[in-house]
């Protein structure tokens, strides 16, 4: 038995080494960093222990901007993308012709580089040398005024960011919801139909409860994902997100860690832990709500 013990640990060893070095140690370390005051990256010394880093971050205008942006982004994209994905999945599961084609098309954004396609969105909204950009041209056709989407008013920029975020997260949600809908047995629908239930009632009383576990899974992962938004914003607005007023919490963490204003791992750690606490809280709330509403 002892021999088997040794052998098992041998099989696990590589995985455990990687986990220890790149996950467990950093996890402990990030908490230590966040409490070490005026840490100097070059000399690796610090002055004291306390919560100054947290209070600095929480009073930093850039962090508050990032916090606000992230919350707005989450509040808009999570419900909207979930509802649209649900509608599309319902549509998909009610048709037979060209269904596979649609499904394949809808999945495409999942396998594309966020940064690369972000550039395409950028040029759709950006001014070209001799015209106002494609989106503005279309707005002009309908008699609207051109808007400077990428460099203008806050809400115009936020609109583009939300739009792109939704475009990026859609494939995963559609895929999960379509397979959830497909797993509801036809017999349930037949039984309800025989009982004269209207389509809306079938949806409310049968479809929705049956896919509710998957729906909640999507909402929870959707929240987590949206709180970690970063590369979408970089793709649209460039690296200097602070001056574009479009920074996110994760963006703030990286900026603090490394970039023009960087070299402050302590502030970055504090911000990352604040983000973690926010995500954890929201996830717990989600789980409590889902316990009440998911019937399995």
């Amino acid at each position: 038995m002892d021999n088997q013990n040794k052998k098992a640990w041998l099989y696990l060893l590589p995985a455990l080494i990687f986990l220890a070095v790149f996950m467990v140690y950093p996890l402990v370390d990030v908490f230590i960093y966040s409490f070490e005051e005026s840490y100097n990256f070059a000399s690796q010394t610090y002055n004291g222990v306390g919560i100054y880093n947290y209070s600095y971050v929480l009073h930093d205008a850039y962090f508050l901007q990032a916090l606000k942006n992230t919350f707005i982004l989450v509040a808009i994209t999570v419900p909207l993308s979930t509802i649209i994905a649900l509608l599309i999945s319902l549509g998909l599961s009610s048709i037979k012709a060209v269904r596979n084609l649609f499904q394949t098309i809808y999945f495409l954004p999942y396998v594309t580089n966020t940064l690369a396609v972000g550039l395409v969105f950028m040029i759709l909204f950006q001014k070209a040398p001799q015209h106002e950009g494609l989106v503005n041209t279309v707005i002009n056709w309908f008699g609207g005024q051109s808007i400077d989407f990428l460099g203008g008013p806050y809400w115009a920029k936020m609109f583009v960011l939300c739009l792109y975020t939704i475009w990026v997260v859609m494939p995963f949600k559609i895929l999960i919801l379509t397979s959830a809908l497909a797993s509801v047995k036809q017999d349930y629908y037949n039984a309800a139909k025989l009982d004269g239930a209207s389509n809306f009632r079938i949806f409310k009383k049968i479809t929705l409860p049956m896919i509710s576990p998957m729906l909640f899974y999507l909402i929870i992962t959707g929240f987590i994902g949206a709180f970690k938004a970063y590369s979408d914003a970089v793709a649209l607005f460039g690296l200097d997100l602070n001056s574009a007023e479009m920074n996110t919490i994760v963006g703030y963490v990286y900026d603090m860690l490394y970039s023009d204003g960087g070299g402050y791992p302590s502030y970055a750690s504090a911000a990352a832990i604040i983000l973690f606490v926010i995500v954890l809280t929201i996830t717990c709330i989600n789980l409590i709500i889902s316990k009440k509403h998911v019937h399995y």
């Binding site: 039984a191 025989l194 004269g196």
Partner: protein, 367 residues
């Protein structure tokens, strides 16, 4: 409510890309189900019996033909307006609703004048729960019930809106053997009490024979025979029906007539009023054998299975394709197992002749 099917045909487009021909699941069905009877649609899997049930329920529309409930032509009526209750093979109970919510679900769909108050619904649910004897389980979820209990809930849900016709799709196939016996009695009792015309589909002939007032035997989408179970058993119209009904199954031999005598192999069985000399398929019910040392029919003896009241004699015959044919005789008989062969007299009423090619029954009288 009387149910009438008139020349009903259902075709499905072929799924096989090479063969373009439509699949005919139900072929030119005509039969009438008298009011208040329990009838069994019986046949091997793939014979179209479930399709026939779906046509009655309205979940599928016939390609041709008409369906009547009483005098109403309901061929084009959508399922929810037909007033049918359907019990699915796997029950299709909504897992997220309690038993009571499952049962009241159909009632909540009623609109206009028929709309019920909550109290009325509960009253109805409890009434029906009592009928199927699940009144103690109303607040449980389906996952907390045994298979037999789930079955009763499914029946209750189908019955609660007082359907004109109750349809059961393989209602017993998901139950274990003992529960199956018990539940089929239960279905019979419920049907007797409610007097609702009931159609149920099964591939188990014993099940169908034991509780149906009438059975419809099907094969490849075509009705083979309709009648009360005993009549169909006693007078099968073709070899398929004869083989499909009865346990142990009927024994099948190659036989022939010569000069008004019926032969199996070299044994002359008895005289028949068939004039031509011709080869036939001869089928003998297990209870058609009578042990007799000087009997006309000699078989190889394989063994004897004692089953209490009866003895099952396992025999083979050179002219029988089956390797083991069972003859049932009373346990009062003693079979000498030391001998390699055994001799029987055959009861003419249990010996059937079928055309060798078509399998159609050839009627005769023995002299």
């Amino acid at each position: 409510m009387k149910v009438v099917l008139q020349n009903v045909t259902k075709k499905f487009p072929s799924r096989n890309k090479k063969e373009k021909a439509d699949v005919i699941a139900v072929n030119n069905f005509s039969f009438e189900i008298p009011d208040g009877k329990l009838i069994g649609l019986l046949g091997p899997s793939g014979c179209g019996k479930s399709t026939a049930l779906n046509l009655i329920s309205g979940l599928q529309k016939p390609t041709e033909g008409k369906i009547f409930f009483g005098d109403d032509d309901i061929t084009k009526v959508p399922p929810e307006k037909r007033g049918v209750g359907l019990v699915f093979q796997n029950y299709a109970l909504y897992p997220h609703l309690t038993v009571k919510q499952n049962i009241t679900f159909p009632l909540e769909n009623l609109k206009g004048k028929e709309k019920l108050t909550k109290a009325q619904m509960n009253e109805k649910a409890e009434e029906i729960a009592k009928l199927v004897q699940i009144d103690g389980l109303l607040d449980r979820k389906p996952s907390e019930l045994s298979g037999g209990q789930q079955q009763r809930v499914a029946i209750a849900r189908a019955l609660v809106k007082m359907p004109r016709v109750l349809l059961l799709d393989e209602p017993l196939s998901n139950l274990d053997a003992r529960l199956r016996l018990q539940t089929r009695e239960e279905i019979k009792r419920i049907q007797n009490e409610t007097k609702i015309t009931t159609v149920f589909v099964t591939h188990d002939q014993e099940e169908a024979m034991s509780i149906s007032d009438m059975i419809v035997v099907m094969k490849d989408g075509i009705i083979q025979q309709i009648g009360n179970p005993q009549d169909v058993y006693d007078e099968p119209v073709n070899l398929f029906v004869a083989k499909f009904l009865g346990t142990p199954p009927i024994g099948v031999y190659e036989g022939r007539t010569e000069n008004g005598k019926l032969y199996i192999g070299n044994d002359c069985i008895f005289d028949v009023n068939v004039k031509e000399n011709k080869e036939f398929t001869v089928a003998i019910r297990p209870e058609g054998y009578a042990l007799n040392e000087n009997g006309t029919f000699e078989c190889k003896l394989n063994g004897v299975e004692v089953m209490g009241r009866d003895i099952s004699v396992v025999i083979t015959h050179d002219n029988a394709p089956e390797q083991a044919i069972r003859a049932i005789i009373s346990a009062e008989n003693i079979v000498d197992t030391s001998k390699p062969t055994v001799k029987f007299d055959l009861k003419p009423s249990k010996v059937y002749l079928f055309d060798k090619q078509s399998g159609e029954r050839i009627y005769y009288t023995a002299k």
